[in-house]
Symmetry: C2
């Protein structure tokens, strides 16, 4: 394992009241620090051999605004800004990383296999739409029984309302949500309650508005295509500093913010032909952080490649992530529950596919996929079940539908309980999407508040085009409209009889999962699919490592009663 | 390991005198076989569900010409043609794969560690420029002592003169060189003499002229960039048939032509994000062929990524190639010998880098490369030395120079002997480039004989641009000129005193390599670099597995005498 020193970019206040400004701009002739409003307001910076420019300035206070002036002409915010008080186009602001005092020394992190994850969007989770709003609901989540929250991306995005995947300042907390100290307070409070915190981070692209990275250096490449714009330059000339930028970002959240883990968005789109893949380099940097701090950290990749390489250990040629999202478990479950066969659900729909997902986490392990029109995937033979995060819903699976319908709006009450049990009694790491626990019926729609008119119309047209294939009729809601966002905020209606009953069911299942040894075994031999009958009944056996505790779980996906005889029970 | 059936494309004569025509064209409405000249000359073909079109026709003779008619409008040669008697734009011709009778049943192949490889270009190797020409020189090669010949690509290219990397019919033998049966005779004769035969194959792109693949189906993709044109579609929709096309091609050379191995050109440009990488799929298909036939086959990748993944075993997360070219051994040797520092030689020049290459095969194993402007490579810790093919010259390193100078034209006589010893006494698999053994002074230039005027001028302009960086002055020879080719044909001057002396030296070194146990040990612990003195003297120790035979080898890269005391000898 290589041990690398990653140079920090950004404005870093030290204990002596000095601020170290450092920014990477290898092709610029000169870079100047600009402090608008102060008397002596420009500071020429010194370049080192790697192309980082530095200047140390005394007497800087937290909150001080600054820009960089590139080659005397371009005035730009800091790519590694910690705070953009006026949004993506405004000045950057200095923060004091040491201002907040953590009290979570006792906390040593949480292993992935202990996690029951609750995914939430800061803006839509509470009426306040802030980090403080999340803090106020932590006791409710504790009561539900989940053990970890996963927060959708918090990097500064254009406008106030955004899912988070349009972030353009990976180090800055989105200004609509509160301050960096609010986030630290959230993590500190969670840890006090015994909850872990995972942050969703986006290192495969930058958002389309307010992205000034290309003015600083070769952050992007045209060697690869991504659906979201230019690919990040992880393997071309000058890529060391680009890799360092994102790895430093990961280390900031994990170290300075005490995050317990990161969910790496679309890790299959980290295009990198280097001998040391950037995902592996990131995983190794995090391992070194763990060794240094004694705190457990988890890295979970979102990947749709059905390729165990991402989660295999480095000595087996893997990239060393702890876990990954297992989308196909969702697809198999969703399509069987809803009967939907459009889009990628074309590849799913039989209960036997859900059985396959119970066995391998992936459904496609090398077979021909009609939707992809090619053979797809590989068998994750040596990976314990706890390396896979499964869900009946998540922000993408709900929000990428034209009308953003949650299962609560698509399925009858009994089916919601079935979905909950399928996820929570599985040997995988379960993830709930905020509101799922009480059967929220409000949608989770795609919303933005971009400022660039051209981008807005392109986005609106794009959404309509995208849904031509998915939905026969109806109009896609306007992502820019305030209403679209407001319609997506949780109702917190836990009192209606069905909602209360479903919540009780979730609480029971979570409690059951935590306390039955059979359900705590993540080894592959601890879970057996016994039968799939009439495309309706799925019979699952689970047992603990010592075969002391055994459970036979019968999932009935039909309205009809199913009859099954356990005599002569054979694994399928 | 998956065992897949790969459908053959092409025109395959069977023992009953019928010919099975099969071609993949998934988006075509209809495909018709066209036999120009015969009376009833069109045969409608039937499509199967994968998009292959077939027809079985009786009474077809070897040599029969044919085209396919696509959607009633486009008349095209067969992408899997075995013979293009009139070149890349003309009709395809049926061949009889069973016409030649091999007599090499005794031959079971050769392990990579036994190979001393001789790379040759069919057109420039002999005055005849044919496969028969090669056959006539096999006894001379046997006398030299090499154990394997590696033939530059033989696929049908545009025109008569071409290096081979512009091939557009991977299954057809280039018509200027002779027939498929000539190639079989060559392999059969080589085996009778105890020589193995390796073929260079190009699966990362198709040549620029006469490439009709895109008329048949989605063979290409724009998701990745290559320097040589469109990337092959190894991972998009419909890619199963594309992968099968190239894997079938590999199997044809290895099985039907009895080739002992393949050199895979630029395997780093096989862009593939699939869970089962196409290189691994190819390696597994070849392993199955070996199991079926009992004949050893070797796969050697050309890759410049310094990434041991390509040659690691599948169970260690590798792709399972047997070996790879180790370009950096060359670069370290060449730049130290010649003093050249232009282009990629910028990264080399110190003798300590050659010492590093002796230790790890790669020079850059994670360090910063000034030429690439990023950290580069990884350490191949667990790979025996025999997985790396090294050379003082090869077609690329000679021919990609503006003036195509071989070492014989660049270095004094003594330095040529030093280069030979460095390669042949190394623990790696040595490769000689034709003519190197007697110090050929003729160049090996880049030559083509394209027919497309636009392509020709683009190519001529491109060569000039390319060499702007490499050479300060002079004109790049015209690749299209017949003279450029003729100047590159070997002189076979083995009589001049220096040439005869060098040849004797090569023979001695090869013989010594074959017979000294210390030189036959490919384990990493059998080779130790003891010292690098004054950037002039490299001291290498080699021993056999049982430490019975030990050799101390002193390479002096300076004109001055070097003094070195072995007392207190410590590994560096």
């Amino acid at each position: 394992m290589t041990s690398r020193i990653y140079k920090c970019q950004g404005a870093l206040l030290n204990a002596r009241g000095e601020c170290q400004f450092r920014v990477w701009a290898p092709f610029r002739e000169n870079v100047t620090l600009l402090l608008p409003g102060s008397r002596e307001n420009t500071y020429p910076m010194q370049r080192d051999e790697e192309g980082y420019w530095e200047v140390l300035v005394a007497g800087i206070r937290p909150g001080a605004l600054y820009y960089y002036l590139l080659d005397g002409t371009l005035q730009r915010p800091d790519p590694a800004s910690r705070n953009q008080p006026e949004g993506v186009h405004g000045p950057s602001a200095v923060t004091d990383p040491a201002a907040f005092t953590f009290t979570d020394d006792h906390w040593t992190g949480m292993r992935l296999e202990e996690m029951i994850i609750y995914e939430l969007h800061t803006g839509a989770f509470t009426p306040e739409g802030t980090l403080q709003g999340i803090i106020s609901r932590l006791p409710a989540l504790l009561e539900l029984g989940i053990t970890a929250i996963e927060i959708m991306p918090l990097a500064q995005c254009p406008g106030r309302r955004n899912w988070g995947y349009d972030g353009v300042y990976p180090f800055a907390l989105h200004n609509a949500y509160g301050s960096a100290d609010d986030l630290k307070e959230l993590v500190n409070t969670a840890h006090a309650l015994g909850l872990a915190v995972i942050l969703d981070v986006v290192y495969n692209h930058q958002g389309p508005e307010g992205n000034y990275l290309q003015d600083y250096g070769p952050y992007f490449t045209d060697r690869y295509c991504t659906p979201w714009g230019q690919a990040i330059n992880f393997d071309g000339a000058w890529s060391d500093a680009v890799r360092a930028f994102y790895i430093q970002n990961a280390l900031m959240w994990l170290d300075e913010f005490h995050m317990d883990g990161l969910r790496l968005d679309a890790v299959h789109a980290y295009w990198d032909s280097s001998a040391l893949h950037v995902v592996q380099e990131l995983a190794e940097a995090v391992q070194q952080l763990e060794a240094r701090t004694g705190k457990k950290k988890v890295l979970i990749g979102e990947t749709d490649l059905n390729n165990p390489r991402y989660i295999n250990p480095v000595e087996k040629g893997g990239y060393g992530l702890h876990g990954q999202w297992a989308d196909e478990f969702h697809h198999a479950l969703h399509s069987r529950l809803t009967g939907e066969r459009n889009g990628y659900y074309e590849d799913f729909g039989c209960l036997s596919q859900l059985a396959a997902a119970f066995e391998h986490a992936y459904v496609y392990t090398g077979q021909y996929s009609p939707h992809r029109k090619r053979r797809f995937g590989a068998l994750p033979e040596h990976n314990p079940y706890s390396q896979f995060v499964v869900f009946a819903q998540n922000h993408d699976q709900v929000g990428n539908r034209m009308l953003g319908e949650r299962l609560g709006a698509l399925l009858p009450f009994e089916a919601l309980k079935l979905a909950a049990a399928t996820v929570l009694l599985s040997p995988f790491v379960p993830l709930l999407f905020m509101g799922e626990e009480y059967g929220e019926r409000r949608p989770f729609l795609f919303f933005t508040s971009h400022g660039d008119p051209q981008l807005i119309s392109a986005l609106q047209a794009g959404r309509k085009r995208e849904f031509a294939a998915f939905h026969a009729g109806g109009e896609a809601p306007d992502p820019q409209s305030l209403q679209t966002f407001q319609a997506s905020v949780l109702s917190w209606d836990m009192q209606s009889p069905d909602n209360a009953a479903l919540l009780a069911c979730y609480r029971f299942l979570i409690d059951f999962r935590k306390n039955r040894p059979a359900l705590r075994n993540d080894r592959r031999e601890g879970t057996r699919v016994h039968a799939v009958l009439n495309d309706a009944l799925l019979v699952l056996e689970r047992e603990d490592e010592h075969s002391q505790d055994r459970l036979l779980i019968l999932f009935n996906f039909d309205r009809q009663e199913q009859v099954w005889h356990s005599a002569g029970m054979q694994p399928v």
